[in-house]
């Protein structure tokens, strides 16, 4: 970026001694809490889950590691529709978040003036209540015969969405559309905040320069603003897509039997069926799938050095 230049490393002034040995371990000591955190809350659970996924047994008999990798294949062949659905819903929600979030972030960064802080607070305000309460609120908003559904019905929007298979009959709740709406709403701030941060860093003089060079506003956006906001777009989409894929609350509260996502499967395998190996295998497949998609996405968007 044009405005950011790295400060050159300070050359040791002639005549001074090199830094004393005592300080050599300081960086490692400073890293220690973070490393411990990663070890205890990430590495160990991952190892434990990996172990669980190749165990066989039952609660009474106990579980033993038998390297039973077939669990993975069984889980995948049984639950691939839920995997596909999760990716599809999460991708739709991410695209919707981008379409809704970009203009708003742009507005806050360049046009909001003294309203900037107020709008930022409004964006974050929903976080003051719990995720669950926010999702439950959508049940009231989209209630059968409520104003929203009534208006959509009167405008014949519901006929179109029902034809597309997004809604069923004259209701929105308990359909795929409701789940995607819930996901979009719940993860929108995760899109707006990184977009805002990267847009806000763009020097307005670049816009002026583009203007001086006879670029139309649309060209300025295409050639200057959007490319410079790519880090925000990438981190925003990742922050939205990854948690949305694993989410199960929205599908549980706003969906129906045909909108279950992989998170719901994992939850019921862990807590109701008590099939820990299958649940762990599903978690691993989900993790691997997300890792693969994210790597591919970052490669394609050419922003490895920006994220």
């Amino acid at each position: 970026m044009a405005t950011v230049t790295e400060a050159p490393p300070l050359a040791p002034a002639p005549g001074t001694k090199p830094p004393r040995r005592r300080g050599r371990w300081t960086p490692y000591l400073l890293l220690l809490p973070g490393l411990l955190w990663l070890l205890v809350f990430f590495a160990l659970p991952v190892i434990y889950q990996a172990s669980t996924s190749v165990q066989t047994g039952s609660l009474e008999e106990g579980y033993e590691v038998t390297w039973h990798f077939a669990t993975y294949w069984d889980a995948l062949s049984e639950y691939w529709p839920q995997f596909v659905r999760s990716v599809l819903y999460a991708a739709s929600a991410t695209v919707l978040c981008l379409l809704l979030g970009y203009p708003l972030a742009y507005l806050i960064a360049f046009r909001a003036g003294r309203w900037r802080n107020l709008i930022m607070i409004l964006v974050i305000a929903p976080f003051f209540t719990s995720f669950l309460i926010r999702t439950l609120a959508w049940k009231t908003i989209l209630a059968d015969g409520g104003p929203v559904v009534g208006a959509l019905d009167a405008l014949h929007v519901l006929d179109v969405t029902a034809w597309l298979g997004w809604t069923a009959g004259d209701r929105v709740l308990a359909t795929p559309l409701a789940v995607v709406c819930g996901l979009t709403y719940n993860f929108l701030p995760f899109m707006i905040l990184p977009l805002y941060t990267s847009l806000e860093r763009i020097d307005p003089r670049l816009h002026e320069a583009a203007n001086d060079l006879y670029a139309r506003p649309s060209t300025t956006f295409r050639k200057v603003t959007f490319p410079l906001s790519m880090p925000g777009v990438v981190s925003g989409t990742l922050l939205t897509f990854i948690p949305a894929t694993g989410d199960y609350i929205n599908a549980d509260l706003l969906g129906s039997t045909d909108t279950r996502m992989v998170g719901n499967v994992i939850q019921s395998q862990f807590l109701r069926i008590l099939d820990y190996p299958t649940a762990a295998a599903l978690s691993f497949i989900l993790m691997a799938a997300i890792l693969f998609m994210v790597t591919f996405y970052i490669r394609r968007s050419g922003t490895e050095d920006l994220v």
Binding site: Q55, T257, Q267
Partner: protein, 415 residues
Amino acid sequence: MEQYEPDRLSAAQVAAMRRSFRNGRAALTRRSLLRASAGGALAVGGGGALSGCGIPAAGKTQGGVSAEDHSKEEKTVNFSNWTEYMDVDDSGRRHPTLEAFTKRTGIKVEYTEDINDNTEFFGKIKPQLAAGQDTGRDIIVLTDWLAARLIRLGWAQKLDPANLPNAFANLSPQFRSPDWDPGRAYSYPWQGIAAVIAYNKKALDGVEVKTLSDLLDNPKLKGRVGLLTEMRDTMGLTLLDMDKDPEKFTADDYDAALARLQKAVDKGQIRRFTGNDYTADISKGDFAACVAWAGDVVQLKADNPDIDFLIPDSGYMMSSDNLLIPNKARHKTNAERLIDYYFEPQAAARLAAYINFVCPVDGVKDDLAKIDEDAANNPLILPDRAMQAKSRAFRSLSSEEETVFEEKFAKLTGA
């Protein structure tokens, strides 16, 4: 448009939201996993670490393991219960029935509301019980299928009948001898939970419902029927509707009942399978009719006159939450005295007046009428003989059956 009523949330809805709030995101805690991994897998290193952390087999000591009983020296008892499952006074901080018990016996009750979900709580106490350690609790309250599992695993202590005269005399007949604990050797019911059919008169709009079949088949109710994710309640009512006995059904009967529900799901008749959050759907009218728990219906009916319930002729499902003394509890005698106390009609009446579930104690009517006349005459709180005769329990399942049945049912609900 006329169905939309953005009114404030009823007490039952708030309670349900609070419950689902705790069950929802808290349910997938990593606590149990962490503890196990911290204990088992500190030796990090490829496959060695992976095979290092199996889950040990559950101990099998039939009859339970008692610790030394410290009831005499330590006048205290640790009671773990579900949230909002005990009477409170107007300030909302004190529990009158517990205080009356302490006053009479001198035994202090350490009352904790730390059970939000059967499966989650099982995960919490499993490591200690499996390792033969004290859980720090003298009384726990578990729904019958989990109580059955604890007894099966040998993790609950046998009760001493000499300390339970009231419980023996006053226990209501329908709770006397569940097949998982014949003669109540290990457990006594805290409250009964009846699964019945609830409906919203306004949303039904003249459609008549009498049985579960009406909910599953009537095309006028398409997409406006709710069922519970609690396998035993939903499947039990379906079995009853098909003239099968949930106390004796076979695997084939189960599959037939499942196929019947699957047909309704495929038709789009079922809007969704819910936990406690169905209360919002039925009171808003998004559900015209659903399978519901009686305790909630009592609340919902009080808040919304359109809500009512029906008991199918074929019967209804009754389950219970049960008081158990886990292995190695330090104050067994004190715990038994507390259990017995709640089978005295006066204490049971005060509790029933507050929490509105099915009271498992006989001879409560007069005492309850003194506190709350309506509650005393409500068959959902004090079932009369005719109502008791229609109550059925789900038979206990072996652990293999449990896994298979739960898995099939989970597929039905979409996951």
